[in-house]
Symmetry: C2
DNA sequence: ACGCGGTCTGCACGGCTGTGCAGGAAATGG
DNA sequence: CCATTTCCTGCACAGCCGTGCAGACCGCGT
């Protein structure tokens, strides 16, 4: 008896349950007087429409799954926040599936979403197995993938290739010829794409590029990668880091462990433009990505898919913009 | 026809719908042979129990609301992530309500949660109005509040007062007598508590404390507060910052704008021990808070409340531990 | 006064599920 | 081989809600 049902409201208001239902249904036809009575009774009893029952009827809820591993880290934190905000504003209910790396955890989460008749799933990271896409497709779950070129889903892509090319060209134009790139072993698609595009551009211009990888794509990995680059071999004078966290780690090692200065000895460009990039200690030149813009595109895709379920897969693009700061000043 | 119903599975398996239902209900009595038939048919059709309908019957869903403003920032990001992970592991479904500051936004979110018969709400931040607690109580929504002393809800508290006292004592014992504290105007309860406890302890020992506040409790506010402290008046030689982000901003200003060194000229202690505190550029001495431990306590409270709805409000405490790094080395 | 059109309203049904209850089949004991 | 118990199963109901449909009621024009 914790919750009030429409029946009780109807009784108190002296109308039928249908009238109550119609009062709370957008676009239904109720006489203003009846509506008033119902609203008053509802207020008095503390009635709230049972969205679960509504969902049963519609065979769909307003739940939207947001799947991310490590949603607390770096740019992904900002993306997650922007996305949940955009979803709420749209009237959807974001479910944050903070899944570990395990495939089975992910699958369990997906079953939950299907069980709750979620209207869609947005994937921010990780590399879901093929079975994931298959299951989603089979249950008519619209899928939006961010930062990953997945042909079986709508997707939002950052211009990783274009940006990375721009970075390489900028280094070369500034007379930096001992190039390096720091990526990650746990190559998420975006990270790998950035690394590869940088390599390709540099090679096309006839330059060698040293590469280093940390285990992950976080600060510690940047530290390890930079140590590897500077401990032996020819020291680079320009490093492209696949994301900002890697760049912070690298910058700290370069300055504090090797006594070099940035940007005089080594220029750095990062990716994402997380707020830390503007901190006084770093002043990182980096590609700005707007989490709100990306979230907005994702929501657009959701809307479109919902209106037109059988349309071919769409792809939205967002172009990162190079923000010059101290680690590689504007030429 | 997007989803398969139990009826269809029953038909294919040649049993009644009840048998299907029982197969997917924990602890129901089904013959192994029947169970097999049902599972096979379900697999073939791609059946998933409709959790919405289940929820209608039980008058409760497994949804848990997680309310936070700016869940992408600092310690809160880690707490949010830990909490969602813990909830998922528990079998609950975390809904991330990334609410703006507006009261009405928060209320709308709460209605959503009630409408979906969420089993509980966890509040990570913000200062919900009284009506919020009232509404929750009225609908039997268990409430867990983190880092805020709210008598109308179960709560998880960090030992803000104890820790802040420890900070003041440590500074004084180390011979630092020109104390300062950096807090925030948008005083969330934890921040205010830390600031006040530090002040009280210092005063009790007979020391004056200069105070400075930024607009918020982030990096930029730390920058502004530190500028205010060092631009005029007697310069402090020890600053307690109500969280790590404030400390980073302060440290950068102290070093780079005023050319002072940390910890020789100014010692710093922060709060939270976010990963950035261990970065080479900072090496911040700070109070470690374990997001996983806090999340675990919150889940404990949920479990307890669910088993025993009428128990008096409970309170779990987590004690932060001072981690010594370079900004204030172990004496 | 009467017919007519339009607006509301209530009934009943449909959408899925869990479960008490009674009955049937199988197993077990004598 | 029969009686009794045990274990399953199917029926029917309950839990909420939205909505098509038909009927009631009101207002209005003639």
């Amino acid at each position: 008896m914790r919750f009030v049902s429409a029946e009780q409201v109807a009784q108190l208001a002296g109308v039928s349950r249908s009238a109550v239902s119609r009062t709370f249904t957008e676009g239904a036809s109720v006489a203003p007087a009846t509506r008033e009575k119902v609203l008053k009774a509802a207020e008095e009893l503390g009635y709230h429409v049972n969205d679960l029952a509504r969902g049963v009827l519609a065979n769909q809820s307003r739940l939207v799954g947001v799947v991310a591993t490590k949603p607390e880290i770096g740019f992904r934190a900002h993306l997650t926040a922007a996305l949940t905000k955009a979803l709420i504003r749209r009237g959807s209910i974001p479910i944050l599936i903070n899944t570990g790396e395990t495939e089975e955890e992910l699958l369990a989460a997906q079953k939950m979403l299907i069980g709750h008749r979620a209207e869609a799933t947005v994937i921010l990271s990780g590399s879901p197995p093929a079975s994931f896409f298959e299951l989603a497709q089979r249950n008519g779950q619209p899928l939006v993938v961010i930062g990953r070129s997945e042909p079986d889903a709508d997707r939002v892509l950052a211009g990783n290739a274009e940006a990375s090319k721009e970075a390489a060209d900028a280094f070369i134009a500034a007379g930096r010829h001992r190039l390096a790139v720091i990526g990650s072993h746990s190559a998420t698609p975006s990270i790998a794409e950035r690394e590869n595009a940088f390599l390709a551009t540099a090679h096309a211009s006839g330059f060698e590029v040293r590469t280093a990888h940390g285990r992950d794509s976080d600060y510690d990995s940047g530290v390890i990668a930079a140590r590897a680059l500077f401990a032996e071999g020819e020291r680079p004078d320009a490093i492209f880091c696949a994301n900002d966290l890697l760049a912070f780690g690298a910058m700290d090692v370069i300055r504090q462990e090797f006594g070099l200065s940035v940007p005089e000895n080594v220029a750095l460009i990062g990716f994402d433009d997380v707020p830390e990039a503007a901190w006084l200690s770093y002043g990182l030149t980096t590609f700005h990505q707007d989490p709100e813009a990306i979230a907005a595109r994702a929501v657009t895709l959701l809307d479109r898919r919902q209106q037109n379920p059988d349309e071919p897969r769409a792809c939205e693009r967002v172009i990162p913009r190079l923000v010059y700061r101290n680690s590689f000043p504007r030429p």
